[in-house]
C-alpha cells in the first residue's frame, strides 16, 4: 500500500532513488543537494537500502565512480547541483556517449558569478547538448515519480541513455509537502531488475572500452545516440501512461497542457514556477482571456512535435525562462521552443521573458505581467524584445 508522507524535494528524490534499488550510489554534497546524500547515507546506515555507498572527494569522482559501476553492470544513482555539475562535465559527457543508464538528480541552482545559492535551471540547461536525457519537474511528488520513470526510461534497450531529473533548488528541494510514497512491491513491478547487454566489464569476457576511434565510426556512434533520443521521445509518453495506469498519477509525458484546448495564446513555463503560472492562467481566464499553459518537462529529447501541436494556430506565445542564453539575450527554453515553431508556426508572434534569476521569486504579479505581454503581442501581431520580468515589476 502506498504511504502518505510529508517530504521535502530532497527527501522525495532520495526516497525515489532508494525504491529503485540502485546497486551503487556515489555523490558529493553541494547546497542545495546535500540532504539527498545525507538521507541516502542514513537509509544505508539504517539498513533500509542495500546499495553500495561510495564516499568520494568531489563531483568529478562521483561521476567517474558511477560510470565505472555502470560499466560493470550496476544500476547507479547520483545527484548534484550547479558548480558540482560543472566540475563533473568531463565524465558527464562520457557517461551519455558510453550509453550508460545512470540516473542523476540535479537540484537546479544558479551558476556563479555572482556568488549565489538559489534555484534555477541554468546549470543543467547549459549542458543540455552533452547527450543526457533531461526532464524538469514541478513538485515533490513529480520528483519521486520521475526518478522511478527515469530508471525505466534509461534502461530501455532502445534508449540506454543517462537521465537527469531536475528540480528547483530551495523552491522544491527544501519545501515540504504531501507526497504519496509507493510501496516497494509496486515499484519492483514497474521497474524490473537491470540486465545490461551492451556493456558489462567482466574478467570472464573481457571488453575493450573506448579505443581511439576514427571519424567514420564516431559518426556512426553519434547517429545511434540520436536514435536513442528518438526512441525516448516516444517512450516518455508511453511510460507516463503506464505509470498512470499503475500508480494513478500522470504528468503528460514530454509536456503538459493546462487549459489549452480552446486557447488563443499560450504561456510556456518549466519547473516549480508552473504552480503559480496555473494560478495566473485561472485568474486571467476568469477575466475573459483565453490563455493556455504549456509546461515543458523534457528538454532533451526536445518534444518538438508536441510543442507545435500545443502552440500552432494560436495568436501568440510567451515563454518565461529562469535562465539566460547569453548570445541571444533571451531565455534558453525560448530558443528551443522558437526553433520548434519554425515551419508550421514560424509567423506566430513570440515573447521571450526572463524572471526568477538568482533566487528572485516568480510571483503571480510576474505571471500576470507575462500574460499581459503575450496579449500585447496578440494585438500587435509582432514578436517582442526580451522582457526582464523582475526589472519591469521593480520599476513599476
Amino acid at each position: 500500500m502506498p504511504e502518505i508522507k510529508v517530504q521535502n524535494g530532497n527527501m522525495a528524490a532520495a526516497t525515489g532513488a532508494a525504491l529503485c534499488r540502485p546497486d551503487v550510489i556515489a555523490a558529493y554534497p553541494i547546497t542545495p543537494q546535500t540532504p539527498v546524500v545525507e538521507y541516502l547515507t542514513q537509509f544505508k546506515a539504517d539498513g533500509e537500502i542495500e546499495s553500495t555507498m561510495s564516499e568520494v572527494e568531489s563531483e568529478l569522482s562521483a561521476m567517474s565512480v558511477v560510470t565505472g559501476a555502470s560499466l560493470a553492470g550496476s544500476r547507479t544513482f547520483t545527484a548534484t547541483a550547479s558548480q558540482g555539475l560543472a566540475l563533473m562535465y568531463e565524465p558527464y559527457f562520457r557517461a551519455s556517449t558510453l550509453r550508460l543508464p545512470i540516473v542523476m538528480a540535479v537540484v537546479n541552482r544558479e551558476m556563479i558569478s555572482p556568488q549565489t545559492l538559489w534555484g534555477g535551471p541554468q546549470d543543467a540547461l547549459c549542458v543540455r547538448d552533452a547527450g543526457w536525457i533531461q526532464i524538469y519537474v514541478e513538485d515533490n511528488q513529480e520528483i519521486l515519480d520521475t526518478i522511478i520513470l527515469a530508471f525505466r526510461l534509461a534502461e530501455d534497450k532502445g534508449v540506454l541513455l543517462p537521465v537527469n531529473v531536475c528540480y528547483d533548488g530551495f523552491y522544491l528541494s527544501h519545501m515540504s509537502e504531501r507526497v504519496e510514497v509507493p510501496d516497494q512491491a509496486s515499484v519492483d513491478a514497474f521497474l524490473p531488475h537491470y540486465v545490461p547487454e551492451h556493456i558489462k566489464l567482466d574478467p570472464v569476457r573481457p571488453m575493450s572500452v573506448d579505443p581511439l576511434t576514427n571519424g567514420y565510426l564516431l559518426t556512426e556512434y553519434r547517429l545511434r545516440h540520436t536514435q536513442g533520443h528518438q526512441r525516448a521521445l516516444k517512450l516518455i509518453d508511453e511510460l507516463d501512461a503506464e505509470f498512470a495506469n499503475q500508480f494513478g498519477r500522470s504528468y503528460g509525458g514530454l509536456v503538459e497542457e493546462y487549459c489549452n484546448t480552446d486557447s488563443d495564446a499560450v504561456l510556456v513555463t518549466m519547473g516549480s514556477m508552473t504552480g503559480v503560472a496555473r494560478e495566473a492562467v485561472d485568474l486571467a481566464r476568469a477575466r475573459g482571456r483565453k490563455i493556455g499553459l504549456l509546461k515543458l518537462r523534457a528538454v532533451r529529447p526536445f518534444p518538438g512535435a508536441r510543442v507545435v501541436k500545443a502552440i500552432a494556430g494560436r495568436k501568440a506565445f510567451g515563454v518565461v525562462d529562469r535562465s539566460v542564453s547569453f548570445g541571444w539575450g533571451t531565455g534558453i527554453t525560448f530558443r528551443e521552443i522558437r526553433s520548434a515553431m519554425y515551419g508550421e508556426g514560424s509567423n506566430i508572434p513570440a515573447v521571450p521573458m526572463i524572471g526568477g534569476l538568482g533566487g528572485e521569486d516568480v510571483t503571480i504579479e510576474h505571471m500576470m505581467l507575462a500574460i499581459d505581454c503575450i496579449y500585447q503581442a496578440v494585438e500587435s501581431g509582432l514578436s517582442n524584445e526580451t522582457v526582464w520580468l523582475n526589472k519591469e515589476i521593480d520599476i513599476m
Binding site: I4, K5, V6, E138, D139, D168, F170, Y171, L172, H174, M175, S176, E177, R178, S272, M273, G275, V276, R278, E279, D361, V362, T363, I364
Partner: protein
C-alpha cells in the same frame, strides 16, 4: 487556502514549526506546503518560513506575500523584522510576547485578531531551553482554529517527545486572544 508566515530566529525551530503544520494537515487528509527562507544558515539569523494549508492540492511554490496569519516566535522580531508586511485584511497575528512588548509598538490595522503568550517563559520552565515553537503551535491552534487540536498535539509529541505535550497545551490554554475593533490594545 490559508497562507501563513512564521518569523523566528535561527535555532528556535521556526522551520520545524512550519513543517509540523503541514504534517498535521496531511494527516487529516488535506494538503499543505512549507518552505523555509534563510539567507545564511546559522544560529541567531532571522528565519522566515512560508506555509500554505488547503483542502485541495496546492500549486504555488513561491513565497507567501499576503499572509492570513503571521506567527512571530521572538518578541525582538517585532522591532527588527518586517512582521506586518503584506498582511491580508482581517489577519490573525500570533506572537511570543508579553503585553509590554506589544504596547510598545504599533500594530498594523490589517490585524483583526491578536494572540500573545510568553512562550519563552513557558519554554524555560518546561523544557529548560528557550525554544518556543511547540508552545507557539498551541497558541496558533487556539487563535486560528485552522488545525485540529488533538491531531496537532499528537504530531508534536511524535516529533518532539512527550515533554512537549505539556508545552503545546500550555500554549493553547494560556494564549490571550483579543479581537481588535476600533481601538488598539
Amino acid at each position: 487556502m490559508k497562507e501563513i508566515r512564521l518569523h523566528g530566529i535561527g535555532g528556535m525551530g521556526t522551520v520545524k514549526a512550519g513543517e509540523i503544520l503541514v504534517h498535521e494537515t496531511v494527516k487529516e487528509g488535506k494538503y499543505g506546503n512549507s518552505m523555509p527562507f534563510f539567507g545564511f544558515e546559522r544560529q541567531g539569523a532571522p528565519v522566515t518560513s512560508f506555509v500554505r494549508l488547503d483542502d485541495k492540492p496546492i500549486r504555488p511554490k513561491n513565497k507567501v506575500y499576503q499572509p492570513d496569519c503571521v506567527i512571530v516566535l521572538d518578541p525582538s522580531l517585532l522591532v527588527s523584522a518586517n512582521v506586518f508586511e503584506g498582511l491580508n485584511d482581517n489577519s490573525i497575528f500570533v506572537v511570543n510576547s508579553r503585553i509590554e512588548n506589544l504596547e510598545a509598538i504599533k500594530i498594523s490595522d490589517r490585524v483583526a485578531r491578536i494572540a500573545y503568550v510568553d512562550a519563552t517563559d513557558i519554554a524555560m520552565e518546561l523544557l529548560n531551553r528557550a525554544i518556543p515553537n511547540t508552545i507557539m503551535l498551541g497558541a496558533f491552534a487556539r487563535a486560528t482554529g485552522w488545525a485540529e487540536r488533538k491531531s496537532l498535539e499528537e504530531v508534536i509529541v511524535k516529533f518532539f517527545g512527550e515533554k512537549n505535550r505539556e508545552a503545546f497545551r500550555r500554549g493553547y490554554d494560556e494564549v490571550k486572544v483579543i479581537e481588535l475593533g476600533e481601538g488598539q490594545l
